[in-house]
Amino acid sequence: MLWFRVPEKLYFKKGSMPVAFGELKTVYNKKKALIITSASVYKSGRTAYAEKLLDEMKIQHTVFFDLDKSATLANVKDGARAAQLFEPDVIIAIGCKKVMYAAKLIRVLYEHPDADIKELSQRFNDIRSRQELFPETDLKAMLVTIPTASGTGEEVTPYASVCDGDNRLNLADYELMPEFVVVDSDNMITQTREQIASAAMMALVHLISSYDSEYATEYTDGFVFKALENIIDYLPSFYENGAADPIGCEKLAEASAMAGIAYANTCSFNSCWKKAYTTIAHDMLSKAEKDEKAFERYLSCANAMGICGSTDKEKVETLAAKLQELTELCKADG
């Protein structure tokens, strides 16, 4: 049995945040929001807009932003304590990957104070093993995710990962999935060139991993194709022009969320950590050479990108070359 799962509500488009936020009041009648973010996003003032919107709706709020460079288990425990004291009915994660990870786990600990993240990570690091039940979430607080980087796509995934000393704890279960996602490229427009490059490469890794995954389905393939198309068509300009290219920014924002959807549904969480973007094109070609099935898959992908060529082999090579171009472009900054 396979599955396709996405957050209950996924809202997108530049400028969508205030409209989407309205639902917190009109649809859900929320009273208390805990915003989780990183110190750098908090200092940049990007959470201030969310706070303003919450104020206008008379939703009480507080911000937790004490996350280390890589979010740690200690951070998560601190955040959960803050949540237990404040008792929010909605948790709003605004930020990059680590913020999403931390928020997902803070909610687990907030709703299940006795849960042991370390132990859960040992039992729930592979979403395919569905023997045991992860503690149920969305009991006290809805989880809203708002990405500020156009790459990780973690706003739509059931994955989380934090450091515990030298160990990394990986978790994967649909109970970790947010219920409400707002992809508003206004939150991503100020990304630096370095951030754009590394985020886009992250999305590219997700895409190729998903496409290569034995759990790839026609559903996830559709998302892969559209996301890849956006990255190929818009990354060079967004990378070059940054904030001066709001359209490119939006296309990358959607690409990363679509990549996230693909990666969330192909069990490719762990493999992602291993794949380096620099060798994507090379890996693709060598795989295509060895494995006819892989060749066919890449050919479909090339067709989906509208790539023309006199032979099928040429099409796949063109696809690989295009990816190579992108990775070269981002290498300096990635």
């Binding site: 049995m1 396979l2 396709f4 194709f225």
Partner: protein, 875 residues
């Protein structure tokens, strides 16, 4: 001597505005100055505003004295307060207000507000508050980069002009253009009218006559009128506070503020006490004949006697021939009538007050309402009461047709704002709303002297991608997926909805077995007909109510799933009205009707047995009221199933006709969702994948049926993906027309779509349509390119878009033919005469179908008709 006088007279008029010519010259000067001023920056303006306010403030005492000397009215010390207020409070209020250029920008919504000056303000200034009003109006004009020309009251012209001059000199010194403030030196009715005709907006403070003249001039006017402020002292009031507040306010500048109290209505149980307190605090109650004498003095021939305006109580009493102590603060007349025929019921602009007795609070309110009607519509009213009496306070504010309602507040000071309440805007020009014949109802300020441009950037609607929480698929997945109902969710009672064919042929059995094995009690309703009726839905709902399931499992094609959704709604919300739920909307997020929240009683599982409708993942359901034959198409994300289980094992034995009709239906879903004005990248990927699978696998699924399980499975997935695409991007006019073809001529839905889709594609592909669809995301007619994207995804490549499109159309025709779809509507046995007879009605109903809104080309009636005809005759 006479000669000298004459010379002085000539000199006096030289360079002064005293006639039409000199007025026009002044007008031109101010206009010229204002043009320059209009380009000043906020910084320059703020500097000028500050300097002018400081200068006016410094001159507050000489200006006050001058006003009293010139007009012979009011109290110099109180006028000092007014001047002080007009400079300091107005400056404080507006010092940080943005009045130049962009004053607001919201980047998320893309809206910018830009402030521009109006031009020349024609300011009419009364004799009652000459210097303070001049200071106020000139300051707010400077802050807003407007020019101003003042028409002073003849009896107060020198002090009015002196105040304006002080402000002008300070402003010019701080950088303002010369002549930005002008005035009429020798006021006359003619020049005042000329000013009104030639200014860009009139700021008229004065009596009703002046205000009316302003509004009649043909120029926009901010005028205010007379007040007749009634006061009620409730039994719960603090009497000492009430009485002293009223005295303080009523004696302020000898009662010349238009918001000043004119009458007091006192509740009978405290009347004597209130009276005693007034007397103790220095007010004089007029006795029998004294009352009559004062009556005849304050109002003469129905009009206010100008001689009493702004005079002391003692002076007025003397005028009436009544002896009162020199120190008397207010003359109070105890009267009964609130009718306009009672002199005391009028506005008196002097320390003369009417006093009424009321037995009940309602009576007091009725009296106050009449006094407002007597001559104070829209102005001010006040109430003294214990603050906890919220019900009475509400009763009062609901009854008063006044724009300022002051609670426990001296009304002269309270009405002008910022003294006894710090959110009421400080102003010396108080709007009286439509009740007072005014264009504004609040205290006039800088915002009324600006033109605000709104620069609206194009923005796109927020869009969404929504799918059932859980979508499970793969051949054989059903029991695994159902397992969650027991192990994860702990469900106890399942209600299965299906049709009798499926039930009889054992399709329900595996579900029942699985439920049994988990100890979940279950029952089955299998009386669902094709095109499910309200009657059968109600029957199912009745069974549901008795059984009280916590999970509903709909098994079948579109009909069973739709019927299941409807029963779900009726089970959870028996009060829901179909008419409301089926109301057409332009934007699902702005629809008028709020759909009830679903899922509170039961979890909804949808299991399709045909590969076509996609209903397992859509927020749509259609139900027919068999009595009226009206179809209710419902659309709301509340109707989205919670779990969809797509198991090709349930679809293996679909008959050929069903395979082809539902397969083409799914193709139409994908094509319409891809061409929809609401298509997004999220739906595009799904739509393209679906189109491709259908082309690759529908022929074999049709020809080989269960012998090609892979094709069956691919079609199952394709149909669900197409469902997800149109669940979010919606459909188009092909579906609108197919719905009506089905309703009028009973052509199966999938076949109806098949008969129309290529006609509709040609229609939509037109690069120069008479009308395109309206949606912020839809930039220009680009549907030809969109169809070509689909074509290329299938590997169809022509030398240009037109050829690619034609190749794509042929490929669709080929697919239809291979799947046994006939060419025309006529081929399906619809008689020509029947078809033509129903045509106009079908056209109109198709046009109004919910699906039409998302079509990329906005169809005209004639165009729909033409498509129907082509599809009928095949040419």
């Amino acid at each position: 001597m006479a000669n000298t006088e004459k010379e002085v007279g000539v000199q006096t008029n030289e360079g002064l505005v005293h006639d039409l010519d000199s007025f026009n010259a002044k007008l031109a000067q101010v206009r010229e100055a204002q043009k320059v001023f209009a380009s000043f920056s906020q910084e320059q303006v703020d500097k000028i505003f500050k300097a002018a306010a400081i200068a006016a403030n410094k001159a507050r005492i000489p200006l006050a004295k001058m006003a009293v000397e010139e007009t012979g009215m009011g109290v110099a010390e109180d006028k000092v307060i007014k001047n002080h207020y007009a400079s300091e409070y107005i400056y404080n209020k507006y010092k940080d207000t943005k009045t130049c250029g962009t004053i607001e920008y919201d980047s998320a919504f893309g809206i910018r507000k830009v402030a521009e000056p109006i031009g020349i303000i024609g300011a009419v200034i009364p004799t009652t508050n000459p210097t303070s009003t001049a200071i106020f109006k000139t300051l707010i004009c400077l802050k807003t980069r407007n020019g101003i020309i003042i028409s002073p009251h003849p009896r107060a012209k020198n002090s009015t002009i002196a105040a304006a001059k002080i402000v002008l000199e300070a402003a010019v010194k701080a950088g303002a253009p010369e002549n930005i403030i002008g005035w009429i030196d020798v006021p006359s009715l003619e020049l005042t009218n000329e000013l009104m005709r030639n200014s860009d907006t009139i700021l008229a403070t004065g009596g009703p006559g002046m205000v009316k003249a302003a509004y009649s001039s043909g120029k926009p006017a901010l005028g205010v009128g007379a007040g007749n402020t009634p006061v009620i002292i409730d039994s719960t009031a603090d009497i000492k506070v009430a009485v002293s507040s009223i005295i303080h306010s009523k004696t302020f500048d000898n009662g010349m503020i238009c918001a000043s109290e004119q009458s007091v209505t006192v509740m009978s149980d405290i009347y004597d006490e209130v009276k005693k307190e007034f007397a103790y605090r220095g007010c004089y109650f007029l006795k029998d004949e004294e009352l009559e004498k004062v009556r005849k003095t304050i109002i003469i021939n129905g009009a206010l006697n100008a001689k009493i305006v702004g005079q002391k109580a003692h002076t007025i009493a003397a005028l009436a021939g009544v002896e009162v102590p020199e120190s008397t603060k207010i003359l109070i007349g105890e009267v009964e009538s609130v009718d306009i025929s009672e002199e005391f019921a009028h506005e008196k602009l002097s320390p003369v007050l009417a006093m009424y007795k009321a037995e009940t609070f309602d009576e007091a309110i009725a009296k106050a309402a009449q006094l407002v009607a007597d001559g104070g519509y829209g102005h001010t009213s006040s109430l003294y009461i214990h603050p906890a009496q919220t019900e009475k306070i509400q009763k009062h504010y609901e009854a008063m047709k006044t724009c300022r309602i002051l609670i426990n507040t001296p009304s002269s000071h309270g009405g002008i704002g910022d003294l006894y309440n710090f959110a009421l805007t400080p102003s010396l020009t108080l709007g009286c709303g439509s009740w007072g014949g005014n264009s504004v109802s609040e205290n006039v300020g800088v915002k009324h002297l600006l033109n605000i441009k709104q620069v609206a950037e194009r923005r796109e609607n927020m869009l969404w991608f929504r799918a059932p929480e859980k979508v499970y698929f793969k051949k054989g997945c059903m029991p695994v997926a159902l397992d969650e109902l027991g192990t994860v969710m702990g469900k106890k009672k399942a209600f299965i909805v299906t049709d009798s064919f499926l039930y009889k042929n054992g399709y329900v059995k595996p579900i029942e077995e699985k439920l049994d094995s988990m100890g979940i009690q279950h029952t089955c309703f299998y009386n669902v007909q094709p095109d499910p009726t309200l009657a059968s839905a109600l029957e199912g709902t009745q069974a549901m109510k008795l059984f009280e399931p916590d999970v509903i499992i709909a098994l079948g094609g579109g009909s069973a799933m739709d019927a299941g959704k409807i029963m779900w709604v009726l089970y959870e919300h028996p009060e829901a009205d179909f008419m409301d739920m089926a109301m057409r909307f332009m934007d699902i997020r702005k629809r008028i009707y709020t759909f009830p929240t679903m899922g509170e009683k039961a979890y909804f599982v949808a299991i399709p047995t045909s590969s076509g409708t996609g209903s397992e993942v859509t927020p749509f359901a259609v139900i027919t009221d068999e009595k009226t034959s009206i179809k209710y198409p419902l659309a709301d994300y509340q109707l989205l199933p919670n779990m969809a289980i797509i198991d090709a094992d349930n679809m293996m034995n679909q008959p050929k006709g069903l395979t082809s009709a539902s397969g083409i239906d799914a193709l139409t879903h994908a094509l319409e969702a891809y061409a929809s004005i609401m298509a997004t990248e999220y739906t595009d990927g799904l739509a393209l994948q679906a189109v491709k699978s259908i082309f690759d696998y529908l022929p074999s699924a049709y020809e080989n049926g269960a012998n090609d399980p892979i094709a069956r499975e691919k079609m199952a997935t394709a149909s669900t993906m197409a469902g997800m695409a149109f669940a979010n991007a919606f459909l188009g006019v092909c579906h609108s027309m197919a719905h009506k073809l089905g309703a009028y001529h009973h052509i199966p839905h999938g076949i109806a779509n098949a008969l129309l889709i290529t006609e509709v594609m040609r229609f939509n592909a037109e690069p120069v349509p008479p009308k395109m669809g309206t949606f912020s995301q839809y930039p220009y007619p680009h549907t030809l390119e969109r169809y070509c994207e689909c074509a290329r995804f299938l590997g169809i490549c022509g030398k240009d878009d037109n050829e690619t499109f034609e190749m794509f159309i042929s490929k669709i025709e080929e697919l239809k033919e291979r799947c046994g779809v006939k060419k025309t509507i006529a081929d399906y046995g619809v008689k020509e005469e029947d078809f033509l007879a129903s045509l106009d009605e079908m056209v109109e109903n198709a046009f109004d179908d919910q699906c039409t809104g998302a079509n990329p080309r906005y169809p005209l009636f004639a165009e729909i008709k033409e498509m129907y005809l082509k599809a009928y005759y095949g040419k």
